[in-house]
Symmetry: C2
Subunit: 158 residues, 2 copies
DNA sequence: CGCGCAATGTTATACTATATCAGGGAGCCA
DNA sequence: TGGCTCCCTGATATAGTATAACATTGCGCG
């Protein structure tokens, strides 16, 4: 275990079982349950290599469970996940993504490729601070910055 | 805050007739027509004090023209407007807004109030440059930054 | 005139998101 | 145990956002 300084931003990404464990712990800490259904949704999210729509996730969960799940139920769970910071939403793509380090909370920036659809999650405190400062200067109370860059990733620029 | 752009970024906001004239000129310069329909949509946009959904705009245009316009037609025109930079889209709100200075092109930042729904349009080259630099550092070609801050405006904080 | 082209109309449909109420299981307490 | 509440999920309906596909109109031009 790396040391947990006040917040050293050692952002190694979790994956596999440790990620599930961390997500579960985060949910429990938020006073939310970790049900079979939620675990199934999380597994699907964690298995994606790019953000997916709620309906795509619904299809994948349905397939995984062998029975039809209503989109409705998936939305409820995704909303909880986002609120608890174990999942993230890409506003400009109406899509959801697992949060590979659910234990630290900060504004995040997505580089969203219009070629392959993949999103790279970047944390940059300098940008975040600057945006929040700009908002504050305008007398605006920033609650949820949405910072996304549409464009082309290195692989898709070719 | 060095101002090295080709133009001086004197961002006085246009309104009323001069704004329409500027928008029209911008569209023509982009090789697009300025039809009665487009003028009607633009008038509605220019009369809004906060971003509105395509359907709300459809209703307003329909009312202004005294006949029912299909949402479809409005979407087409809004898309053109956004492409030509005479209108802007707030991704996190699925809403459209007139661009009060259509003649200069830059990334923009919206402060979107969850209380009153108003959006403040801020231009900040420092943030824009930093975001683009971050993207470039990741080998990502930034084409369209989406920078929006959800929160509460000064009036709604009270 | 006849043709092509762009804009708009018309209709249908896909996609995204939420509301509402019913059912069912776990824990709690008399 | 029985009954109770609370939360999660199911089921259904509907609202809201966006695009597809083809028809029609009107205008400029040879």
């Amino acid at each position: 275990m790396a040391s947990l300084a006040p917040h050293n931003h050692d952002h190694r990404k979790l994956a596999g079982a440790p990620l599930v464990t961390a997500a579960r712990a985060t949910m429990l800490a938020a006073g939310e349950q970790w049900t079979d259904m939620r675990a199934a949704v999380f597994d699907v999210l964690a298995g994606l290599d790019h953000p997916a729509s709620a309906y795509a996730i619904t299809d994948a969960v349905s397939k995984a469970l062998g029975r039809r799940i209503a989109a409705n139920s998936i939305y409820r769970i995704l909303d909880l996940f986002v609120a608890a910071n174990v999942a993230l939403r890409v506003e400009s793509a109406n899509a959801y993504l697992v949060n590979a380090h659910p234990e630290c909370l900060h504004d995040c920036l997505f580089l969203v490729c219009d070629g392959c659809g993949k999103a790279t999650h970047v944390d940059d405190e300098a940008i975040s601070k600057q945006i929040r400062a700009t908002a504050a200067a305008a007398g605006f109370r920033a609650e949820r910055p949405v910072i996304e860059v549409r464009g082309r990733c290195a692989a898709c620029c070719a």
